[in-house]
Amino acid sequence: MSASPAALDALLQRADLWRGGACAHHAEATLGSGFAALDAVLPDGGWPCGGLTEVLADSLGIGELSLFLPALRQLEAEAGWVVVVAPPAQLHAPAWQALGLPLSRLLVVEAEGADAAWACEQLLGSGALAALLAWLPSADARALRRLQLASSNTRCLSLVFRPERVATQPSPAPLRLALRGSDSGLQVDILKRRGPPLAKPLCLNIERPLPWSRLTRRAVAAAPVRREPHVA
């Protein structure tokens, strides 16, 4: 006996079930990523609000935050707070402000190890967050599962940044990305999504302090100043 087509349709409405060739569709809110090529391959056509997004990147400065800038700028003041947990370096306030991330809604939580994961869970539980940016290099699967549960009840863009070596470990996050820098753009490899795997990484021209073309036209301004800085 096979299930009736109606029952099958009802089953396909589930967030954790999808056909082999297509992506699952979540009813939850999304934030447009600002990159058409990326929106096309994300299951809901944008970054999910609610549910963890795990971002694997090894070095600082490849554009790991700039990738999310268009989404973070869309957040309305009423949506809630943007909280940075356990940042890997100091936040340079003038730059955050200049890039359109209002400091009036930004909070920084300095914590280490298990405390950082605990803080994230508490923050997600408050329901007052619009976005959570957390660096949890040592979080284990149990901590991530708790965060995924806490996050799935919210409408918060929940980004967890981790080193690339954990790519082989299983993760409860429904969306996992690996980021790599390159001369032509940021390489975004979607390791896991609620849908079929992608054949090759995307290359996105994210916002950088200088136009990307400057990288290809090498040596325009590359010659360092030879003389010593003037010392009075």
Binding site: S66, L91, A93, P94, L103, L106, V108, A128
Partner: protein, 468 residues
């Protein structure tokens, strides 16, 4: 007018907070028994010897009327959570006028549930009585009656609720008068003639035929309350139960006086050494009992007692006016409140661990960011268009090797993308931490595609930030 009488019928024993089974005694007779003792048949009025025969493990303790009075006043403060019109009816009853605040709590049932929960969390047993007159409400506590048909309920009460002397009670019984209904049926003059002039007046007040004004409880000008502990406490988190009584009273006092606090101090008294002051800090002005208790719990769980504690004090530091909040018109909720979470994080991680950011007007990158306890409500208008600045800044600039006149990072030469940007500032604090700077800044990329902010000074090349 709707009067709610709260009768703390075990107050004499519950104020002592003794382990069960316990009784409070006066002149070798039971005054009040706790729930365990009452379940074994120990009744107020019994002789202590009889009670000990019923329950050999009973802990008798001499009644302490002054502590009962202090607790009743503290409970009156707590009742300020529900209504501003509170009256004391010593020794063990509070009268609350709740007609004006039913709307706020969404009706009578939710309000009564809140009051019952609040008392239970402080370890207090209560009986409620609800009637349009204060005296009827007090009498109805004997039946724990909050019914709408208060007159019917009042009529069925036994004559013992009147609190007459033994001789008068015997005379009532001799006449076959057992309930108030029978007494109400008699002409007032006859009752007055037989039982004294006061009784018909009381009956008239209870039925609302005569006015019965109640002296309102004056909420004290300053909140300083103390609580003596029944035994020396050696583990900090065992103090929470006692601290909860104080904090709930504080919340009610703040509510009644329309105040809020950002700090209060819990003082732990020891026997031999000076008292420990435990400051409780809140992220925003508050009078929410739940928040007060949560922060106290975090603090007490982490605190190591220097010596056993004998007494607790609670001071409200510098209360400020805090207007009440309006109930949303269409029942909409804003997306939750972050302040209670921030308090919890600060209690565990330290005050400095949770902060906002503000831009400080200084050209030196190290000095351009200031951590502020709470973000400023409006961003400063960003008018100046500056050269690119990185999102991440290294706390300590990282030295870079120079190979063939070019800086290298992780063994590979960096690709410099901009001309030098000279930052020269800070001559005024030559000897300070940051000091006088003379640097040429560049934007550089690595072979791995990372964008770095580096500078060169008299000592060489340094990595200062990353364009995340």
């Amino acid at each position: 007018m709707q009067w709610l009488a709260i009768h703390f019928f075990r107050l004499p024993v519950e104020v002592l907070a003794l382990p069960a089974p316990a009784v409070a005694i006066a002149q070798q007779r039971i005054v009040a028994a706790d729930a365990t003792a009452a379940a074994s048949g120990v009744r107020p009025g019994q002789r202590l010897a009889d009670a000990l025969a019923l329950l050999p493990g009973l802990r008798p303790h001499e009644r302490q009327p002054e502590r009962e009075q202090a607790l009743l006043e503290s409970l009156a403060c707590w009742a300020g959570n529900f209504t501003p019109t509170v009256s004391l009816a010593p020794p063990d009853t509070l009268l609350l006028e709740i007609g004006g605040c039913l709307q706020l709590f969404g009706g009578q049932a939710p309000l009564l549930a809140k009051i019952r929960d609040g008392a239970a969390s402080q370890g207090l047993s209560l009986r409620l009585g609800l009637a349009p007159t204060p005296l009827a409400a007090r009498w109805l506590t004997h039946a724990d009656s909050t019914t709408e048909h208060w007159q019917a309920a009042l009529a069925t009460l036994p004559v013992e609720v009147l609190g007459l002397n033994d001789a008068a009670e015997r005379r009532l019984h001799a006449l076959g008068l057992r309930t108030l209904a029978q007494l109400f049926a008699l002409p007032g003059a006859t009752v007055g003639h037989r039982f004294g002039k006061a009784l018909p007046l009381q009956l008239a007040r209870a039925r609302g035929e005569l006015p019965d004004p109640q002296p309102p409880f004056a909420f004290p000008e300053r909140f300083v309350q103390r609580l003596e502990l029944p035994a020396k406490v050696e583990v900090a988190d065992h103090l929470l139960f006692a601290a909860r009584r104080l904090l709930m009273a504080l919340a009610g006092w703040l509510q009644a006086r329309q105040l809020g606090i950002t700090t209060c101090t819990l003082v732990l008294d020891h026997e031999d050494i000076p008292a420990t002051h435990l400051p409780l800090g809140f992220a925003s002005l508050t009078r929410d009992a739940e928040r007060l208790i949560r922060v106290a719990r975090e603090q007490l769980e982490r605190h190591r007692l220097a010596a056993p504690v004998t007494e607790l004090h609670l001071h409200a530091d510098a209360p400020q006016a805090l207007a009440g909040s309006s109930v949303a018109l269409f029942g909409q909720q804003d997306g939750g409140n972050i302040a209670p979470v921030i308090e919890r994080l600060r209690a565990r991680l330290g005050d400095a661990a949770v902060h906002g950011l503000a831009v400080h007007d200084d050209h030196r990158p190290e000095c351009a960011t200031r951590a502020v306890p709470w973000p400023e409500p409006k961003d400063a208008p960003d008018t100046a268009t500056t050269p690119p600045r990185p999102l991440w800044l290294q706390a300590q600039p990282q030295a870079l090797h120079e190979v063939a006149g070019r800086p290298t990072y992780a063994g590979a030469a960096l690709n410099l993308l901009t001309r030098a940007e000279r930052l020269e500032s800070g001559w005024w604090d030559q000897d300070e931490a940051t000091g006088d700077l003379r640097r040429d800044y560049f934007v550089a990329t690595t072979a791995q595609g990372a964008w770095l902010w580096i500078y060169r000074d008299a000592h060489g090349w340094w990595l200062h930030g990353q364009f995340a």
